[in-house]
């Protein structure tokens, strides 16, 4: 029963990792950009949520009404102002600019909010749980997982059933032809980043409810998201969810053996899958 419980908790945490990863997967799919500052943007969203809650007194999940649009607008501006200038075949500029952005975000947050670790208080949601047959499921992890499924389903719907999704897919397939058809690629990319940071906002708020956060947590979250994307296979959002779940379960099993092995076990699972199936479990596109 213990083992089943560990696996179940791991699956639910995997939902959070899928939320970290979904935005990463989306922008890679649309513009082949790997944003090194992705994790730091998740942490930025957590701090923005903290400020929104401090000013308004809203509960964390309701605060998302403000945090999501703020982050999305920031994403749009970031893409149009900075990141669009780095795109164009060469790998280095986007990578190094987003690396610089990561350091700026970390130290900016440190300067404004100090290094103290913070947490969002979601009240009864954090401790409530339902138990049946010896298993106990926390309400928060369950909600996190359900949100991940809903976000990925929504992204999937948007990608394949809407005009915006068609624009994303067209630009991803061939940006130049898409421009001939009247799409402005800089705008398409900006919308993709806006959407990405909308998802990042949700991930940031859940992160901040679930555990303590500080300005330097970003890189770790980037790595978890990245591992989920690679395990699941590039270009496959449901695969990313599976990747998050595998990572969560591996970490849970590692922690059960020795708390020091929690993160290490996740990395080892990632490296094993990379060794056995270099393209991930369910790949849809090439890197």
């Amino acid at each position: 029963m213990d083992l089943i419980n560990i696996i179940l908790q791991g699956v639910l945490v995997g939902g959070l990792y899928a939320l970290f990863a979904a935005g990463l997967s989306l922008i890679f799919g649309v513009m082949r950009l790997v944003n090194i500052a992705h994790g730091d943007l998740i942490v930025l969203a957590a701090y923005i949520a903290m400020e929104v809650i401090r000013l308004s007194g809203l509960p964390p999940l309701v605060a998302l009404i403000f945090v999501v649009p703020v982050m999305a607008a920031f994403g749009y501006a970031l893409q149009r102002g900075i990141l669009n200038r780095t795109l164009g075949g060469d790998l280095l500029p986007p990578l190094l600019v987003s690396f610089g952005l990561s350091v700026i975000l970390q130290n900016g947050l440190l300067a404004v909010f100090t290094a103290d670790s913070r947490k969002l208080d979601a009240g009864v949601l954090e401790t409530a749980s339902v138990s049946f047959g010896g298993l106990s499921i926390g309400l928060l992890p369950a909600l996190m997982f359900a949100t991940a499924v809903a976000v990925i389903a929504a992204l999937q719907f948007m990608f394949y059933k809407t005009a915006l999704g068609r624009a994303f897919r067209a630009t991803s397939d061939d940006a130049e032809i898409a421009e001939l058809m009247g799409l402005d690629r800089r705008r398409v990319y900006a919308w993709a980043m806006a959407l990405c940071l909308g998802v990042v906002a949700i991930a940031g708020v859940f992160l901040a409810i679930r555990s303590n956060f500080d300005p330097f947590m970003g890189p770790g979250r980037l790595i978890f998201g990245f591992e989920a994307v690679i395990i699941g296979g590039l270009g496959n959002l449901w695969g990313t969810l599976a990747g998050g779940v595998i990572l969560g379960v591996a970490q849970g099993l590692g922690a059960a053996i020795d708390p020091g092995w929690q993160i290490l076990a996740g990395h080892v699972a990632f490296l094993l899958i990379l060794a056995i199936k270099p393209r991930g479990l369910f790949p849809r596109m090439d890197g």
């Binding site: 790998l91 280095l92 500029p93 952005l101 130290n107 440190l110 591992e227 290490l264």
Partner: protein, 334 residues
């Protein structure tokens, strides 16, 4: 018929070479004329110059953008300490051994991370560095998460205070100048020609018969070994290793990337200029702490967007400067 001559060296490059040799000789004598704080600073300068030169060789010439070189810095330190503490190896002898062991470790690591293409390679190397750090934190014999200092009995093997400081400085100087010389000679060789071709176009260089995969693999392993030797030296400069410091992404990768980007990526001179700028900025701005890092990050972004080849690349293009010529020039006679 048109007459022409082909030359490699220029007047500037000859002057630069003489200047470099004189500078090296003066610096080699530094333990006799400089204070120990100067030796410390110069040693640190050499360490960053070496790290930046090696990272530039990977990213600027081979397109292997690694954000996980701290894996080998830390590994070098930990191997040195293990050899000195458990096998009684003399610390200075442990430095080349650490390089060798790390190069052997890098072979299987490379075959894993090379499965990730482009930007995902970068994060893959970072994961590797995290794995190394977490394993080091589990090594209770080496102090676990809090690390370990080199005991006085081992430190004594390095000699008295003067000799210890001098030999660590000489090693740093040798590694800094050695890495620079190695990259210069490498780029003038056939491998250098292959690297430059890969940098300019992978497709075209494959069609010319360059085995890109193998060149990249060999270079990754070479750079890993040398980076570990620098890491070994750093551990002796500090006389202490701990997982968080030895495998620090900020200290051993972020600063190094900023140095190379600001100075000029894909040029030999870039890392030198970048290291000088980095140390000048640090001297004047380090008191501002986090603001200093904010400034450095912003400067790197501005340079990357405005002058993608860095300050040196910008100047070289504009004025035709070249201190370390690796190409040939053709002069026509009327």
């Amino acid at each position: 018929m048109m007459q022409f001559t082909i030359s490699r060296a220029t007047l500037t490059s000859r002057i630069a070479a003489i200047f470099a040799l004189v500078l090296l000789a003066v610096l080699a004598a530094a333990p006799w004329w400089a204070s120990s704080s100067f030796l410390h600073l110069a040693g640190e300068f050499a360490v960053y110059l070496a790290l930046a030169t090696l990272w530039n060789l990977l990213a600027g010439y081979t397109g292997l953008v690694s954000v996980g070189q701290q894996a080998y810095v830390g590994l070098g330190g930990y191997i040195t300490f293990s050899l000195a503490l458990f096998l009684g190896v003399h610390p200075l002898l442990a430095i080349p051994l650490a390089g060798l062991v790390a190069a052997l470790v890098a072979i299987p690591v490379a075959s894993l991370v090379f499965r990730l293409a482009g930007a995902y390679f970068a994060i893959g190397t970072w994961v590797m560095a995290e794995v190394f750090r977490l394993i080091a934190a589990q090594a209770t014999a080496l102090g676990g998460g809090s690390g370990i200092s080199l005991p006085a009995t081992v430190t004594k093997e390095l000699g008295g205070k003067w000799l210890r400081e001098a030999s660590i400085f000489w090693l740093a100087l040798a590694l800094g100048a050695g890495c620079l010389a190695l990259v210069y000679l490498l780029l003038r060789s056939r491998i250098g020609l292959a690297l430059t071709a890969i940098r300019d176009s992978e497709v075209a260089s494959t069609s010319l018969g360059i085995r890109i995969g193998r060149v990249k693999h060999v270079l990754y392993v070479l750079v890993a070994g040398l980076t570990a030797m620098i890491g070994a030296l750093i551990s002796l400069q500090k006389l202490r290793v701990s997982p968080d410091a030895a495998f620090s992404v900020n200290d051993w990768t972020a600063f190094v990337i900023f140095i190379v980007v600001i100075g000029g990526i894909g040029t030999i001179e870039g890392p030198i200029i970048g290291t000088i700028i980095y140390f000048l900025l640090r001297e004047f701005l380090a008191d501002f702490g986090t603001l200093y890092l904010l400034f450095l990050g912003t400067l790197a972004i501005v340079v990357m967007l405005g002058a993608p080849k860095g300050l040196w690349g910008y100047a070289a293009e504009r004025f035709g400067w070249s201190l370390f010529p690796v190409g040939y020039r053709i002069h026509f006679k009327e």
